[in-house]
């Protein structure tokens, strides 16, 4: 049950040279490449079915509506939601989280309530909660990240102490974009449920990599983006339990989300329409449908195993480099296919510029995780993040490139 190396031909963008070298694309944590089937699905929509959705009575509008709603139903089956109405299409993870913060938040939080997050959240699962706390008088607290560089994880004892009945919402990442730590989402949700807290999972990094069943995990909300799972940019999903979504006020208002409008007021449709004001991103929802199909055809358990193997291999190979700090979970612990590292004497931006000359696409910086970087005593790290098309040979190219950089700066 492993992935075929032949699947690289499914991704047209991989077939190119950068700086005269074959592209080694290791920036999948930022965005993944797209398979031909996704690109074709988007193009086919514009070529044949392009029309506005809902309320349309002509043939193209009906085709567009069917395609858009089929994508919603497919999203529901992809994460095993109980019903398609639990799938709200958004622009991506950030908008999904903001929707919860701006709609559920003010209606449910009072001064003295606690919002709990973790120290390893991406800014998109941190700043919206800071703003919500300011707006409602609630307090934002963080579950600490503890351990040495190469065995980092959430502090389980601190989590148990912090999860009190005052916690009304617990927001956490399923897979840290900076550290590669995969959290035990089902266990965290069970603990949160025991104190009556609503759970929000940032699944941006895990959605295209790990099997996800929202009913097994038991979360209230789960947010993800299409573009980090082989789908198009500009489309994402907020999963929410139906009972919760239908008690929430609208996030944005306008056309498509109302039942009846008078000059004095309006009434709202139920979810998901309530949260999808205006013309939605029909074409990219249809592209996302093709991405769900593509990933399930490969098999998510096989993708997860592939990622894990590349992540461990990269850690082991990079750890032999002098003066390197590798930040992440202990070897053998649940992890995603990414590795974050820093050199004592070479800054991440110099590393990324050098690697680019070898055709290797990396990311260097704070990874939208400034508070965690400060805590770890770093201003930036270099991150290599893998996907279905990456190979062990590409890790060899990465390590060779890193050796060249170290030699250059030592000289």
């Amino acid at each position: 049950m492993s992935l075929s190396p032949n699947l690289r031909i499914d991704f047209p963008a991989l077939d190119q040279h950068v700086g005269g070298k074959p592209l080694v694309y290791l920036d999948n944590g930022a965005t993944t490449q797209k398979p031909r089937s996704v690109i074709d699905a988007v193009a086919r929509f514009y070529e044949r079915d392009n029309s506005n959705v809902h309320r349309g009575l002509h043939a193209l509008s009906m085709r567009a509506t069917d395609g858009y709603e089929a994508a919603r139903t497919r999203a529901a089956t992809f994460i095993n939601a109980a019903h398609p109405s639990e799938i709200v299409f958004t622009r991506g993870t950030t908008e999904s989280i903001n929707l919860v913060a701006q709609s559920w938040g003010p209606a449910n939080l009072r001064p003295g309530d606690i919002i709990l997050a973790t120290e390893m959240e991406h800014h998109s699962n941190l700043v919206p909660w800071q703003q919500l706390a300011l707006r409602t008088g609630a307090t934002l607290k963080y579950v600490p990240v503890t351990g040495n560089d190469a065995e980092l994880g959430l502090d389980p004892d601190a989590l148990d102490k912090l999860l009190t009945p005052q916690v009304k919402l617990f927001a956490f990442t399923h897979l840290s974009n900076t550290l590669g730590i995969l959290t035990d989402a089902a266990a965290l949700c069970a603990k949160a449920r025991a104190v009556g807290a609503v759970t929000v999972i940032d699944a941006a990094q895990s959605i295209g990599h790990e099997p996800i069943d929202v009913q097994v995990i038991g979360c209230d909300f789960l947010a993800f983006s299409g573009h980090k799972m082989a789908g198009p940019t500009g489309i994402g999903v907020l999963y929410g339990r139906r009972q919760l979504l239908n008690t929430m006020p609208p996030y944005q208002t306008g056309g498509g989300m109302v039942n009846a409008v008078t000059y004095e007021g309006a009434t709202w449709k139920p979810s998901p329409e309530r949260f999808e004001a205006g013309t939605p991103n029909v074409a990219d929802a249809i592209g996302l449908h093709a991405a769900f199909d593509y990933l399930d055809q490969l098999g998510r358990p096989a993708i997860a195993a592939h990622d894990f193997a590349l992540g461990e291999r990269a850690c082991a190979a990079l750890s032999e480099l002098p003066g390197i700090r590798i930040l992440g979970p202990k070897p053998g612990q649940p992890r995603g296919g990414l590795v974050s590292f820093a050199f004592a004497d070479v800054h991440a931006h110099d590393v990324v510029t050098f690697a680019d000359q070898d055709g290797v696409a990396l990311r260097g910086g704070h990874h939208c995780n400034q508070p965690l970087m400060r805590k770890l005593g770093l201003s930036s790290t270099t991150r290599a993040s893998f996907y279905v098309y990456n190979t062990p040979e590409e890790i060899d190219v990465l390590v060779k490139s890193m050796r060249r950089i170290l030699k250059f700066f030592a000289g």
């Binding site: 700086g19 070479v346 800054h347 991440a348 931006h349 510029t353 000359q357 260097g364 201003s379 700066f409």
Partner: protein, 143 residues
């Protein structure tokens, strides 16, 4: 694609490895910090402006890539002894060098940064320390 030795010239590598004027000078009456929010780099420049309006002491703290560290180090050596107006004029010449890749012959070490122009994403690294210094020169005196 431009060669990396054009970007990382020996002057730059030298200043990166052995930064000049690193740390807060014993006397300073102006300070300013520059940030590069997209990459997390930061740079604080301290300087002492005399009653006659000349920089007679300057130093910097912070972290960043080789380009930003070397550029800030070199900047401190160039700005020392200058007035605010002279420093600003020099910065304008420096900006020309890093954006055009062309350097007039009389501009010695700063010309090492001409290679930056082929890497547009790195121009903000090269100018970080300069921005902090010019900002410091605009500040009211502080103890």
């Amino acid at each position: 694609m431009s060669d990396l030795t054009d970007l990382y010239q020996s002057v730059i590598l030298d200043h990166n490895k052995r930064p000049r004027n690193r740390g807060k000078p014993p006397i300073a009456n102006r300070v300013a910090t520059g940030d590069n929010p997209s990459c997390g780099d930061n740079c604080t420049v301290y300087l002492h402006l005399t009653d006659e309006g000349r920089v007679d002491a300057i130093g910097f703290e912070g972290s960043g890539c080789a380009i930003s560290q070397a550029s800030t180090s070199l900047m401190t050596t160039q700005v020392k002894g200058k007035t605010a107006a002279e420093a600003e004029a020099l910065f304008n010449e420096f900006k020309q060098i890093v954006t055009s890749g062309q350097a007039p012959e009389e501009i010695s070490d700063l010309a090492a940064f001409a290679g930056v122009h082929a890497f547009p994403a790195r121009i903000k690294c090269a100018t970080l320390g300069w921005h902090a210094a010019l900002e410091a020169l605009k500040q009211p005196p502080s103890v």
